[in-house]
């Protein structure tokens, strides 16, 4: 398929994880700000190691049905498609804009008090372990880009990879949609 390069940004508002997942929308900074800003109630405490383990043990069940990921699924979030070079953390220049849009949104006063979780996903081509590692590296790369090139305070960013464990559509495990990166608003933290 040659349409990998097409940039698809899907905005996911609040908890509705399932049906409109693939519906592409015109995304603007304003939309990201509004979509991610709808945080109601206190955010749960996040332990990256637990989340990673839960994703591995969960083995492909819906994110919302797992105890810790279930809490994440309820938070304001959006899905961004970032085009990486095949089997690499290299982001294609065509996807720079998506990262820029996220950065603009994170620099807006509506969002600047919040912390965010970057969740990297991968296609199901290749071994589980390899995909998990790749998605970890991709999530970390996005965190690095946001905190260096785009000057977002690294203290506000958490990154975790979940490999192929939460595919959008099980029947299309290798589709570009599973190269998605999820951005979740974790809420206002008073760092312990």
């Amino acid at each position: 398929m040659t349409k990998i390069s097409s940039l698809l940004l899907t905005l996911l508002v609040a908890a509705s994880m399932a049906p409109d997942f693939a519906a592409a929308q015109e995304v603007s900074e304003q939309r990201i700000v509004l979509g991610l800003g709808k945080l109601v109630g206190a955010a749960p405490l996040i332990d990256i190691a637990i989340l990673r383990q839960e994703a591995m043990d969960g083995g492909g069940v819906a994110m919302a049905s797992l105890p810790n990921w279930g809490k994440i699924a309820k938070l304001p979030q959006m899905v961004v498609e970032i085009d990486f070079e095949n089997d690499s953390v290299m982001i294609k220049p065509e996807s720079y804009r998506s990262l820029g849009l996220i950065a603009d949104a994170l620099h807006h006063p509506n969002l600047w008090a919040y912390k965010f979780l970057i969740v990297g996903h991968s296609s199901s081509t290749g071994s589980d372990k390899h995909n998990l590692e790749l998605s970890e590296k991709r999530a970390a790369a996005i965190g690095e880009i946001l905190s260096t090139t785009f000057a977002v305070d690294p203290e506000r960013l958490y990154a975790v990879g979940v490999g192929e464990y939460f595919p959008i559509d099980g029947s299309k495990g290798d589709s570009a949609s599973n190269r998605r990166v999820q951005l979740v608003n974790l809420g206002v933290f008073t760092t312990p």
């Binding site: 953390v89 290299m90 982001i91 220049p93 990262l99 603009d104 006063p109 509506n110 880009i145």
Partner: protein
Amino acid sequence: MKTRRTIATTLLIGLALTGATRAETLSYADAVTKLAQDCGADIKKFCHGLNLGNGRIADCLQKNAAKISPVCVGTITTVLTSISQREQAQAAYAGVCKHDIAQLCSSVKGDGYRLACLIKAEKRVGKACNQAITDAGWR
């Protein structure tokens, strides 16, 4: 595109002359879009294997300045300048607008709502604060 070029040119000339010309700042999204458009081919050619982040792409392009396209060379300057202008405006906002917030939006809680209040009260907000909001790209 033409407009953006003009803005970029104005920005560069302004900086070259006095540094005093006020040009519209670019958002991160527009800045990197411009970078991808004007330097995408050079990035793929000369910086293959390098990822955005930590100044790697900018360093690589600058290192290869003699080989990359002149348009790309110009774009790097524009993009870096514009990003830093916007960052400065965002960092300065709280200080510059402190008085306006106290005067007009003191009862409003939350940074986002305060900004919305200032934007709504644009006509009564001071010039410096209005300019900071514009330069920060929040209007």
